[in-house]
Amino acid sequence: MIDRSPTLPAQATGLQLPTHLYPPAGAQSKNLANYVPVPDPGAQAVIFSFTVPTSMRLVLNQIGNNFVGGGFDEGSGNLIWQIWDNGVPIEDFENIIGSLGNVALPTPMAPIIFEQGHTVAFIIQNAAGSPILGGSGQVGATLRGWYYNFLSAGDSEWGV
C-alpha cells in the first residue's frame, strides 16, 4: 500500500527519483531567457534574474548564451557571461567567455540548485578596452529547469 499523502515525504516510499535530476510531482518548469543590448566596454548588464519563491527549490540543467552581432571572437574575453547567486558569481560560471549553447537550443549541463529566496541572475560584462561597442549587438542567455516545493517532495530543508 502506497500512501500518497503530501505530508509524507515521497522518498519514504522508496519511489522518489532524485529531484535534482528528475522533476518531482508538482514541479513547475522554469524557462528563463532574454536578450539585452551589449553594454558599453567596461560595463555590465543583467540579462535576466529570478528569485526563487519561499519553500521552493530551483533546479537548472540547461544553459545557453550567445552574442548576436559582429566583431565578437569566441573565447577572446571581450564578453564575459556570469551566473550569479544573490549577487555573487557561482563556481564554474564566473568566467564564461564563449557560447555554451544557443538560447534557441540550450546545452544540457550538470544541474545547479538555488534555494528559496535566492536570486539567480545571468550577467554579461563587456570587458574594459573591448572593441565591441555598446549597443552594437544583442546578448542573450537562457537557463532552463524546474522548481518545486522541496518539503512536499520529501527533500531535506537544505540540499538534496
Binding site: 561597442l133 549597443g135 549587438g137
Partner: protein, 281 residues
C-alpha cells in the same frame, strides 16, 4: 499442412512486428537551431524642426525609437514624409561610435513639390553602429516623418537609383543642390554649353555655404571653348556638403562670364555613397 500454417502465422507476426517497429521508429531529422538569415526591423519617428535629430542605435539606455544592431551588413530605410519643406536624412555607419560615414541619404527639396513623399535608402557594409541623422546642419525646417529600418546579414543588390537631371544656367556661383544643409550627392555627369565668344572656365564646389569666386576652393575646373558643349559621363563624383557651380573668365578667376552657361546636371541624391571616397576640395 501444419508447417504451412506455422509459416503463415510467422509471416503475419513478422508483419505486425515490422508495422510496430515502423510506427515507433524515431525521427531521424536533427534540429540544428535557427540557421535562417537573421534580420532586424526598427520603426521610428522623426519629429522634425530646425535642429539636427538622431535615431540612434539601441542600447541599454535607448530602448525605443532606435535601430537594433544584430551585426547586419545591409541596410534598407523607408521614410514617409508628409511635409513639403526641404529636408535631408542621412544613413550613417560607424566602426567606433565616433567617426560616422554617410552611407546613403534621402533629400526632399522645397522646389520639388511633385517628388514622392516616400523615399528609400539602401546601403551595404558592416558597421558596428548604424544611425539616422535628420537635418544634419540644422539649416532646414524639416517636417515630421515616420519610417522603418530593416537590416539583413547579406548584401542587397544595388543599382543606380533616384538619379535626376537638373537644368541650370551657370555664371556667378550658383547653388545646384543643398543650399541650406549638408546634402550628399553623386555627380553622375553633366553637359554645359558655352554661348560666349571666349573660353569659359567651369568650376564646381562641394559646399552649401556661399561661394566666393577666386577664394573658395573648387574640386573641379574645366575650360569650355567658345560656342562649344562639354560633357562628362562619370565616374561618379561624391560630394557630402552641397553642390555649387560657377563659370568664370579665367582659370581660378573671380569674374563670372558675361553670358551664363547652359548646363544639365545628372545627380544622385540617395547613394549609396560607399565605398566611394569623398572628394577633398
Amino acid at each position: 499442412m501444419g508447417s504451412l500454417k506455422r509459416f503463415t502465422r510467422l509471416c503475419k507476426m513478422a508483419l505486425v512486428v515490422a508495422a510496430f517497429t515502423a510506427a515507433v521508429r524515431p525521427a531521424l531529422a536533427q534540429y540544428i537551431g535557427n540557421v535562417g538569415q537573421a534580420s532586424t526591423v526598427s520603426a521610428f519617428t522623426i519629429s522634425g524642426g530646425t535642429t539636427e535629430q538622431l535615431v540612434n542605435p539601441c542600447s541599454a539606455s535607448i530602448t525605443s525609437n532606435c535601430i537594433k544592431m544584430i551585426g547586419q551588413a545591409s541596410h534598407l530605410v523607408q521614410l514617409n514624409y508628409g511635409s513639403r519643406a526641404q529636408c535631408t536624412v542621412l544613413l550613417e555607419g560607424s566602426p567606433d561610435g565616433t567617426n560616422w560615414a554617410t552611407l546613403g541619404a534621402a533629400t526632399w527639396f522645397a522646389i520639388s513639390l511633385a517628388r514622392f513623399s516616400e523615399q528609400t535608402i539602401v546601403a551595404n557594409g558592416y558597421y558596428q553602429l548604424i544611425r539616422l541623422k535628420a537635418n544634419p546642419n540644422g539649416g532646414d525646417t524639416c517636417g515630421a516623418m515616420t519610417g522603418n529600418y530593416a537590416g539583413f546579414q547579406t548584401p542587397l543588390p544595388l543599382s543606380p537609383i533616384a538619379t535626376q537631371f537638373k537644368s541650370h544656367t551657370v555664371a556667378a556661383a550658383a547653388n545646384i543642390a543643398g543650399s541650406t544643409n549638408s546634402t550628399p550627392y553623386l555627380l553622375a555627369g553633366f553637359s554645359c554649353y558655352n554661348p560666349n565668344s571666349s573660353v569659359a572656365w567651369l568650376e564646381f564646389f562641394d559646399t552649401f555655404a556661399t561661394v566666393t569666386l577666386g577664394t573658395t576652393p573648387f574640386f573641379y575646373e574645366e575650360a569650355i571653348p567658345a560656342m562649344s558643349t562639354f560633357s562628362y559621363t562619370g565616374p561618379n563624383v561624391l560630394g557630402l556638403s552641397g553642390f555649387s557651380a560657377a563659370a568664370v573668365t579665367a582659370q581660378g578667376g573671380a569674374t563670372p562670364v558675361s553670358t551664363a552657361l547652359s548646363c544639365n546636371f545628372q545627380i544622385n541624391y540617395s547613394g549609396p555613397f560607399t565605398p566611394i571616397t569623398p572628394l577633398i576640395p
